[in-house]
């Protein structure tokens, strides 16, 4: 039990993610979480505005069920399967973030400087979440997939387009982390 409560090392987590992909493929589906955003648009009536959202969303109910499970899984993991230990980040990462004005780095999954209500309810804090969400939602559909669809499934299926998309993920991520975050914080 002690091993379950502690954070799981990469060599346990990575293979378990493969297992999730294999289960979904074995069930005749695929591992792609961002498709749900398109499904949510379709449910909300976006089909009136673009063909892209005109499809039978009911065929995607299985994936929405995965989402529901993921929410429950997140709840179970923090409520019952965590010992509350800090994230074992590289000390350099911690000091870099301290310099940007982040405190208690790694004490929780997310920084309160971004997700705490004090920040969220400020103009800047709200802008960060909204812009971050917009970029993810727009980019993932433009690229035709996200981390699960491209980086895990696409690469495992030796898809060149997925490799190009993952290179794109890194171009964007590196620009944000090295050039933009220091300007924002």
């Amino acid at each position: 039990m002690e091993y379950i409560l502690r954070p799981w090392p990469w060599y346990v987590s990575g293979p378990l993610i493969t297992l999730i992909m294999v289960f979904l493929i074995y069930f005749g589906k695929t591992f792609g979480m961002s498709s749900n955003l398109q499904t949510l648009c379709s449910i909300g009536g976006a089909g009136k505005y673009a063909d892209f959202f005109r499809f039978d969303w009911k065929a995607q109910r299985w994936n929405l069920t995965v989402v529901l499970g993921a929410v429950i899984g997140g709840f179970i993991a923090v409520q019952f399967l965590s010992d509350g230990s800090d994230i074992a980040l590289n000390p350099e990462t911690i000091s870099d973030l301290n310099q940007l004005g982040f405190d208690n780095v790694g004490a929780t999954l997310l920084p309160s400087e971004i997700y705490g209500w004090d920040s969220v309810l400020s103009f800047k804090g709200m802008a960060i979440l909204v812009v971050g969400g917009l970029l993810v939602g727009f980019g993932t559909r433009y690229a035709g997939g996200c981390t699960s669809g491209h980086a895990i499934t696409g690469l495992s299926n030796l898809q060149l387009p997925s490799l190009i998309a993952v290179i794109g993920f890194f171009i964007g991520g590196l620009v944000m982390t090295h050039f933009l975050l220091p300007l924002i914080f």
Binding site: T65, V136, L181
Partner: protein, 137 residues
Amino acid sequence: MKFIKFLLVGIFFGIVLVKSEAVSWYRIYEMFKFQSFHMYGIIGSAVILGTISIWAIKKLKVKSTEGKEIYLQPKEKSIIRYILGGSIFGLGWALAGACPGPMYILFGTGVYSMLIVIAAAVLGTFIYGIMKNKLPH
């Protein structure tokens, strides 16, 4: 209940991503700073094992639980959409620290402000859908 297996996979997915810390903004930041092997180890081992698994599934002509031979749709050939779309996604990923799976998982962990990111991501997808025909693909 044909949906129960998807619910269970989802629960397992949520638990694994929290326990691996892959849902953590800090881990994403650390990854893009190349200061830890952790995220590379997770994605790398998942992909290596995934490549072997998919190869074996095709080789052994495994049938899905729906009785059909398993077929994975190849991704459309292009460069521009993957580089541009991928880069836009990457900007958001490193800013919000959450991609489309972890968003829901983090909401489940009790970070309710994540609903703002989820709503914005739905809106971003909607904007893409409207602009789709005007974008280079």
